[in-house]
């Protein structure tokens, strides 16, 4: 039946093929063309620079960059994986890598640099970066691309108006609350904008407090651990202050937009957004800066560090053209080009500065070192094989807590249950 359908659709295709070849771009890569799929428009230029550099060294290989938006990227990638038509090279995210790797969709890249050095990965990449690119079996399924941390972005003018010191490494959760109150009292603007988000929100607080989302071996959720519960109550409770907008506000206005239109003084932001925010809000340049995250009251530090990697389909396990390009992406040169584009901090250790130099084009300096410093105590972004299945359900439950239709204790217990069920289901 499938074969018949295929023939029929081929027939339908030929009906129009003549009319379309003139204007349509051919898609099946002719020899020497590698397609690379990514989801971030802001990094398109950086990826293009990599493609150009590689083409210069290997004139017979052309790399074509394709960008799509986040949601559709995963819908599409799954459909492509199912029908065995994955692009040659694509970005992989920690949310999904275990699902893809553990189901045999990705090529094992552990030995990619075997000819060069047996310890290439561990020599040049941090443990967090490598585990962000590994499957549950410990093998490496992606070439680490970048690494990131989450920092505290703040509005200097509002701090000046309230006559208080800018955030620094001495800050704790209590300072965060006090400063927010002072700014609200002095300017009527919002203080720290705490919204329902995991990576840019409560995850950081949970780990600072010594709690966890998933246990070490990823067999159970941690929402029944006292430290986690305490941090969640603190974080969710922030919205009950006058100086923090409620979740209804954030459903209509992204915190970044509220910040850059000078409605609020602070929010958590990932380093990968800083470059486009500098470019998109020129009138705000000089008015804001970044700092390390505050610690928990007893000094616990943490920031969530995620990292993407470049992967290829299991079918390309022995495709030397693709493998060579991947090797280039993970080389010092490839990582340097990426860093200099300013899009993200290279995963390659020792190249963090290249990302900072990309900001030399602007007239004033941000304290970008804050993002780099935090790698010392960064925590790997939460993931397990079943994360795609529980992610949206956990968000739904969290929103119920924010909306007040579930009390916080019941809600957290439900979240714990949702994750544990998903883990059991995927086993």
């Amino acid at each position: 039946m499938k074969k018949f359908l295929r023939m029929v659709s081929l027939g339908l295709a030929t009906v129009m093929a003549v009319g379309l070849t003139a204007c349509g771009g051919g898609s099946k890569s002719p020899d020497g063309t590698i397609t690379m799929q990514i989801w971030d428009t802001a990094q398109r230029d950086g990826m293009q620079a990599l493609a150009d550099a590689y083409h210069e060294q290997n004139p017979d290989v052309t790399v074509e960059i394709q960008v799509t938006s986040w949601d559709e990227y995963w819908t599409k990638l799954e459909a492509a994986a199912t029908s065995n038509t994955l692009p040659d090279v694509f970005w992989m995210h920690t949310n999904y890598i275990l699902q893809y790797a553990d189901n045999g969709m990705l090529a094992d890249l552990t030995d990619l640099y075997a000819d060069e050095s047996a310890t290439y990965y561990t020599d040049h990449y941090s443990d967090v970066s490598i585990s962000n690119a590994s499957g549950s079996d410990g093998k490496i399924y992606g070439v680490p691309k970048d690494k990131d941390t989450v920092g505290l972005v703040y509005n200097k003018e509002m701090f000046d108006a309230a006559n208080i010191a800018y955030p620094d490494e001495t800050w704790t959760w209590d300072t965060l609350v006090e400063a927010s109150q002072a700014i609200y009292d002095a300017t009527g603007k919002y203080g720290y904008m705490a919204y329902a988000d995991d990576q840019l929100g409560y995850w950081n607080f949970v780990y600072q407090n010594g709690g966890y989302i998933l246990n070490e071996d990823k067999t159970a959720a941690g929402f029944d651990v006292p430290e986690t519960i305490e941090a969640m109550k603190f974080y969710i409770g922030l919205q009950s202050y006058d100086w923090c907008p409620d979740q209804n506000y954030f459903a209509e206005t992204a915190p970044g937009n509220a910040f850059f239109s000078e409605q609020g003084a602070m929010f958590l932001e990932g380093d990968w957004n800083i470059m486009s925010e500098m470019k998109n809000y020129p009138e705000m340049q000089g008015k804001w800066d970044v700092a390390v995250l505050p610690s928990s009251p007893d000094g616990g530090r943490a920031t969530i560090s995620n990292g993407l990697c470049y992967a290829t389909s299991a079918n390309n396990q022995n495709n030397e053209v693709v493998l060579d390009f991947l090797r280039f992406l993970g080389s010092e040169e490839g990582q340097r080009i990426q860093g200099e584009s300013g899009a993200a901090i290279p995963a390659y250790e020792g190249l963090e500065e290249t990302w900072i130099t990309a900001f030399d084009q602007f007239d004033y300096d941000l304290n970008l070192d804050a993002f780099i410093e935090m790698f010392d105590y960064s925590v790997q972004s939460v993931n397990d094989k079943s994360r795609p299945n529980w992610k949206s359900k956990v968000t739904d439950e969290l929103l119920k807590i924010y909306g007040g239709s579930v009390d916080i204790d019941t809600g957290l217990a439900n979240i714990n249950q949702i994750i544990n069920d998903a883990i059991a289901d995927a086993a």
């Binding site: 295929r6 295709a13 129009m16 349509g24 898609s27 799929q37 990227y73 065995n84 937009n257 239109s261």
Partner: protein
């Protein structure tokens, strides 16, 4: 006599009320467009002032710059036009043939086959996306213009719609042509099809509007932003600028322009075209 005077007075009041409602309604219909233009000329900070300013304090055009640098508008215009052109072409060619056959020819299984056409109109289009994507992927045809057109190769709605208009043509016309020695194909192409010009124009416009509005399919089937259409490009812009409304409004305005021009050109057919579906 008295009664007539009061009737005339109530007619005058009725007239006044009619204009009142029409003008109020027009304002409601047009206001979002006005607000779109005004917002697109404000800075993000100004757009988020309380209370909102009506006119921009000082019109800025940067938002259009951001929109243009984020999206390859020229490609989007071309893709959208190509998409519309081929979907319309297919809908007209295949639906005319099928509509004619269903309306005028006798054959076994007609009821059942026409049932297939009708039931298709009840299905939500989301269920087609993944299977259709996989068909194209297995033919390595994603990221092409053909992929954009693919789901619209045939049109159940078009078939249903043109069948209605063939039903309206008296059978005698076809029979006369047949007696003149035309075969079925000639009767169809030379005699019957030309009589459905109005409906074909209407179908053109319907198909164009639906193709233009199609959001999910272009997003899923074509990853390359250069191969997207205006609607899906706008969704991408939203992914990038989240709730930065001045930029989103600027992008929306830029996306509207081609359709607006077409609309102003074809306004008459547009309106009459839609009127056709009301026929029995």
């Amino acid at each position: 006599m008295n009664q007539e005077a009061s009737l005339r007075r109530s007619r005058a009041i009725g007239k006044g009320l009619t204009y009142f409602f029409l003008i109020t309604g027009s304002l409601i219909m047009i206001f979002p467009f006005v607000w779109m233009i005004l917002t697109s000329l404000k800075t993000l900070s100004e757009s988020m002032q309380i209370p909102p300013t009506i006119l921009p304090a000082k019109p800025v055009f940067e938002n259009f710059t951001y929109a243009v640098t984020s999206l390859p508008f020229v490609n989007l215009y071309i893709n959208t036009i190509v998409l519309i052109f081929f979907r319309v072409l297919c809908a007209i060619a295949f639906s005319s043939m099928a509509g004619y056959a269903f309306a005028k020819l006798r054959f076994r299984g007609k009821g059942l086959l026409f049932g297939l056409v009708l039931v298709q109109m009840m299905m939500p289009s989301q269920i087609f996306i993944i299977p259709q994507y996989q068909m194209l992927a297995s033919l390595s045809l994603t990221n092409t213009l053909f992929a954009l057109v693919f789901p619209g190769l045939v049109s159940a709605f078009g078939t249903f719609f043109l069948r209605q208009s063939y039903l309206g043509i008296p059978n005698e016309i076809g029979e006369a042509a047949y007696l003149d020695g035309c075969n079925q194909w000639q009767t169809f192409t030379k005699v019957m099809a030309p009589l459905t010009g109005n409906s074909v124009a209407a179908l053109t416009i319907f198909t164009a509007v639906f193709a233009y509005a199609d959001l999910m399919w272009p997003l899923v089937v074509n990853t390359d932003i250069n191969m997207m259409t205006l609607s899906s490009g706008l969704a991408t812009l939203k992914g990038q600028f989240t709730t930065n409304y001045p930029v989103l409004m600027a992008g929306s305005l830029l996306a509207m322009i081609p359709m607006l021009i077409l609309y102003l050109f074809f306004q008459k057919q547009f309106v009459e075209g839609i009127a056709m579906t009301g026929g029995k």
